[in-house]
């Protein structure tokens, strides 16, 4: 520790600490622009000049190392004169357009100019003008305002992992831009808007729509990926105007992904459903709530009478709140059915009977940055978990070794130590090899339940390198990504990975796909009794101990269940034509049902056109209801509605409560969402007793057997969920839909396969799965494994296809 003095107050900072660090500790404010606690030190704005005893000139606080016994003065005559001098220089070329500048009111330059600027300028010469740049649909530029602090440049290099902006030219001619003809495409790009201390980089969707001081700030939680980013939602006249990060060092730090930041546009979409609608005689009509709810209640009763309670099923998306999912399952169970699920994109439910708890990250998010080695299995990491990917990049920067087993080889913008890019069906054998290698390395027996499966496996060099990396570097972890969770052999992937984790004594985690992936289990939105022996309060009447149908069975998605299904469905926050493992079969199954109730914030085109729905109930998105999400690290985060529900929209928990009352079910007398939550979490916010990713003693299937053969016969589809198609809100966020990441799906395949099939790039081909087919242009990606075609799911243009990782056939058209 180094002890020194600032403004007469003693302070000590660690070795390599700076004067700025000391000042921050003491709460002394030193004006600054280029300094940012999360970025490297550039010391190029000079605003932070302070006086240091015995130093002949003022020194920049951000870049001056603290020294034993040093005496610093931040407000002395010399310091203030220096700061004022710098301010005068900065203002020479800065335009006086604050009245029309979006940054006005939250501009660091404006604020500091009040404190350090002169009331008029001595500069009478012409000001410099810099042409604006097109950085894409999210960031708008006014480059004349730039003060060249290079925060935006350093953000790209150091946090986003990809340098998209740079400072070109020199001296008076320097300017910030992207390389000729390029835009800023990082999935974290919006953060430069917050970082820019002036109005040079501002939000394009928000541009000129409000002044910052007209906005009220409300706290909220992101409804998208499993991270649970903390948000500030800013509203004006009952409308969400923009979203900013709420700093939380343990979760999102001071960042937000573009998905979290810009998806709010979807909340104000034209497609919002504002009145209940019923289909009568094939015609959709708006109606009042009373009529709609009675229609639903009568429909459910009829189905129950005619076909029995088991023919009622409910599916809720894990982007719904804990309270909503809890009441959904309570309603269905109250009616006498156990068929309730949230895992609509999962295809392998073999482990259901063995689950020991809710699969979770296995460790706090913040500890990811400290990992020394990790293995990520089946993930479009940057797109599914943008900020987790950032944490992993930071870990790698500090020496961690990243190992990847994946069917795709997208650039992770960081060093990958060992990678195995293999076809989806080969991921199992790859993992088996790693398990074998680690067992050999540690000299332990292969666990019994994997012994049979592994008898013919021998470890490759890559597998051995991964095993060494995981066992030699502690702390380490294995993460199961979204692709692996949707994989037809998810159970085997999990089992093998857990054995590897156990033998090498490292963490095992499942990366939560949605904001409430963990919460959905805890709420009971699964077709099996999930008290896991842990639940201390018994909830009367809502469990039957039996087994209901899972998502795949309910929607007739797997081969065995094809053609079957329920007679009545309640869908919560779902668009089955986009959100399911096998959209083709899901839609067909729904269409054959007697009653499909959609609780949704949107008038989904497909629901109306494909004619599978019978009732649409307008429910509130996360900004219009109170609720709770449980993040992938098991953190319980409650939030309140920030605006009033739009039109006749109602919070889903209230709708379900009223429905429960109309159906005369017990235990639906909640007055507030907090009461619902208290029922789910009687012991408060500690849910650690529920968190357990273990699958018991389930045996691993033979490596080459099972479902994978279905794929290995011909071509395998790799059907990832594109970043801006993952849920209902983001699908309708217009600006995000104009980014590169939202480009329409193509049929990506390796050159070898193109040659074999005689295809050219951009040639439109016919892709077939089951009875459905779509036409897409071919694109070449030589990093894909042989005989694989990457065709995104969750997109209207591929909705007619079948399973995300099933066999697919190609025809020239």
């Amino acid at each position: 520790m180094i002890n020194f003095e600032i403004d007469g107050k003693p302070v000590s900072v660690p070795k390599n600490g700076t004067v700025m660090d000391g000042a921050n500790q003491l709460g002394i404010y030193i004006p600054h622009f280029c300094y940012h606690k999360k970025l490297s030190i550039a010391a190029n704005c000079r605003m932070c000049l302070v006086q240091v005893e015995k130093a002949p000139k003022p020194l920049p606080a951000c870049a001056t190392p603290a020294m034993e016994g040093m005496k610093v003065f931040t407000h002395s005559g010399q310091a203030v004169t220096a700061q004022k001098g710098v301010m005068e220089f900065l203002l020479i070329n800065h335009p006086l357009d604050c009245p029309i500048c979006d940054q006005g009111g939250e501009c660091q330059l404006q604020d500091l100019a009040v404190g350090y600027g002169a009331s008029s300028s001595r500069y009478t010469e012409a000001k410099r003008v810099v042409a604006n740049k097109n950085l894409g649909p999210l960031i708008s530029t006014d480059m004349t305002r730039c003060i060249h602090c290079t925060r935006c440049v350093r953000f790209g290099q150091e946090i986003a992992g990809i340098m998209e902006l740079g400072m070109v030219g020199r001296g008076e001619h320097s300017e910030i831009l992207a390389f000729v003809g390029k835009t800023v495409d990082s999935e974290l790009s919006g953060n430069v808007i917050d970082l820019c201390p002036v109005g040079a980089l501002v939000s394009k969707p928000f541009r000129y729509s409000a002044r910052t001081w007209e906005l009220s700030r409300r706290k909220s939680i992101s409804p998208h990926c499993g991270l649970g980013s903390n948000l500030i939602v800013q509203i004006k006249q009952n409308r969400v105007m923009r979203v900013l990060p709420r700093e939380n060092e343990e979760i999102n730090e001071c960042w937000l992904s573009d998905k979290d930041r810009f998806s709010y546009e979807g909340l104000n979409s034209e497609e919002r459903l504002t009145k209940p609608m019923i289909k009568q005689g094939g015609v959709w009509q708006e109606c009042d709530w009373q009529t709609a709810l009675e229609f639903v209640a009568n429909g459910l009763k009829d189905v129950k009478e005619k076909y029995g309670a088991e023919s009622i099923g409910a599916l809720g998306s894990a982007h719904s709140t804990l309270e909503e999912l809890y009441l959904l399952q309570k309603l269905v169970r109250g009616l006498g059915s156990e068929s309730v699920d949230h895992r609509v994109r999962q295809s392998d439910f073999r482990a259901d009977s063995q689950m020991q708890g809710a699969p979770w990250l296995g460790m706090p998010i913040a500890e990811i940055s400290q990992l020394k080695s990790l293995l990520v299995i089946g993930s479009t990491l940057r797109k599914d978990h943008p900020l987790l990917a950032h944490r992993i990049r930071q870990a790698v920067k500090h020496g961690a070794e990243l190992n990847v087993i994946n069917p795709i080889d997208d650039d992770l913008l960081t060093k990958v130590r060992n990678r195995a890019i293999v076809a989806p069906d080969k991921m199992i054998s790859m993992l088996a090899e790693v398990l074998k290698a680690i067992a050999e390395l540690k000299g332990v027996e292969i666990p019994d339940d994997a012994k049979n499966a592994l008898s013919t496996v021998s470890a490759s060099d890559t597998a051995r390198a991964m095993a060494i990396s995981l066992s030699d570097n502690k702390p380490a972890a294995i993460f199961i990504g979204n692709l692996a969770q949707h994989h037809p052999r998810y159970t085997d992937i999990c089992k093998l990975a857990q054995h590897i984790a156990q033998i090498s004594d490292i963490r095992f985690g499942v990366l939560g796909e949605a904001a409430n992936s963990v919460g959905a289990y805890i709420a009971g939105a699964v077709p099996f009794d999930n008290r896991f022996g842990n639940r201390n309060a018994d909830i009367a009447g809502d469990r039957h101990g039996g087994q209901g149908a899972n998502a795949s069975q309910m929607l007739g998605m797997d081969d065995a269940a094809s053609g079957t299904g329920c007679k009545a469905y309640i869908l919560l926050n779902l668009e089955p034509e986009l959100d399911c493992y096998n959209t083709q079969r899901a839609v067909r199954t729904l269409a054959a049902a007697d009653l499909v109730v959609m609780m949704s914030a949107y008038k989904s085109h497909a629901a109306i056109q494909d004619n599978y729905a019978d009732v649409l109930l307008p429910i509130a998105p996360f900004t219009e209801t109170s609720g709770t999400f449980i993040s992938t690290e098991g953190r319980v985060q409650g939030f309140n509605g920030v605006v009033a529900p739009l039109g006749e929209t109602r919070p889903a928990w209230k709708v379900l409560r009223v429905l429960g009352n109309i159906l005369q079910l017990d235990g639906f007398d909640y007055e507030t969402s907090e009461q619902v939550r208290a029922d789910v979490l009687p012991a408060g916010n500690d849910v650690s007793a529920w968190l357990n990713s273990s699958l018991g003693s389930l045996a691993v299937n033979p490596i080459e057997a099972g479902k994978e053969n279905k794929g290995s016969v011909g071509l395998q589809r790799i059907g990832e969920v594109p970043i801006y198609q993952a849920d209902l809100i983001v699908r309708r966020a217009e600006s995000l839909q104009r980014t590169r990441d939202a480009a329409a799906p193509l049929a990506w395949m390796p050159g070898s396969l193109m040659a074999q099939l005689g295809l050219q790039t951009e040639e439109v081909i016919r892709l077939k799965q089951g009875e459905g087919e779509v036409q897409l242009p071919v694109a070449q990606d030589d990093k894909l494994p042989a005989n694989c075609i990457r065709v995104a799911s969750a997109h209207p243009s591929t909705a007619a296809l079948g399973g995300m990782f099933d066999q697919i056939t190609v025809e020239k058209s």
Partner: protein, 158 residues
């Protein structure tokens, strides 16, 4: 994109730095590329970026910072005359005036036959030899009186 010969030169430069810090060679790589192509197109800079495993924008930063990189097509001979104070005091302005008259072009212009481009330069660290100029970044000419300029232009025109 670049000739095998240029690539060989770049590869040689690369041997001077650790394997994971290829971008250290960016300045020499750009100079080598420019020697071959005359000036640096977007494509050339992109190519260098890829070759050195660095972001294109970072190459662009370097190329725009140093005045010796040509980002626009230039004549066969680029003549850069130092006009900083010591040179100016010792006849640089007269030298420039003489060039203007003889070539019929001003700074940043190229003669119609594509032979000469005139550039304004900063101190070249040879103030004692003023006025000084550079031909194509590499050849320095000192004490450039009008006679010597005539001589130079004649030699280059051959």
């Amino acid at each position: 994109m670049l000739s095998a010969e240029s690539l060989k030169k770049i590869d040689y430069e690369l041997t001077k730095y650790p394997a994971d810090q290829k971008q250290s060679a960016v300045m020499s790589a750009l100079a080598i590329a420019q020697d071959e192509k005359g000036w640096l197109t977007t494509e050339t800079m992109d190519f260098v970026a890829e070759y050195l495993d660095m972001p294109s924008i970072a190459v662009y930063e370097v190329a725009t910072f140093y005045t010796m990189y040509n980002l626009q097509p230039i004549g066969k001979y680029k003549i850069t005359v130092c006009t900083n104070l010591p040179c100016a005091l010792s006849g640089a302005n007269e030298a420039v005036a003489h060039f203007r008259e003889k070539l019929g072009i001003g700074f940043n212009e190229t003669t119609t036959d594509g032979k000469f481009t005139l550039k304004e330069g900063e101190c070249m660290g040879a103030c004692g030899d003023a006025p000084v100029l550079l031909v194509n970044n590499k050849r320095m000419c000192s004490f450039m009186s009008n006679d010597k300029i005539d001589q130079l232009l004649e030699d280059l025109s051959k």
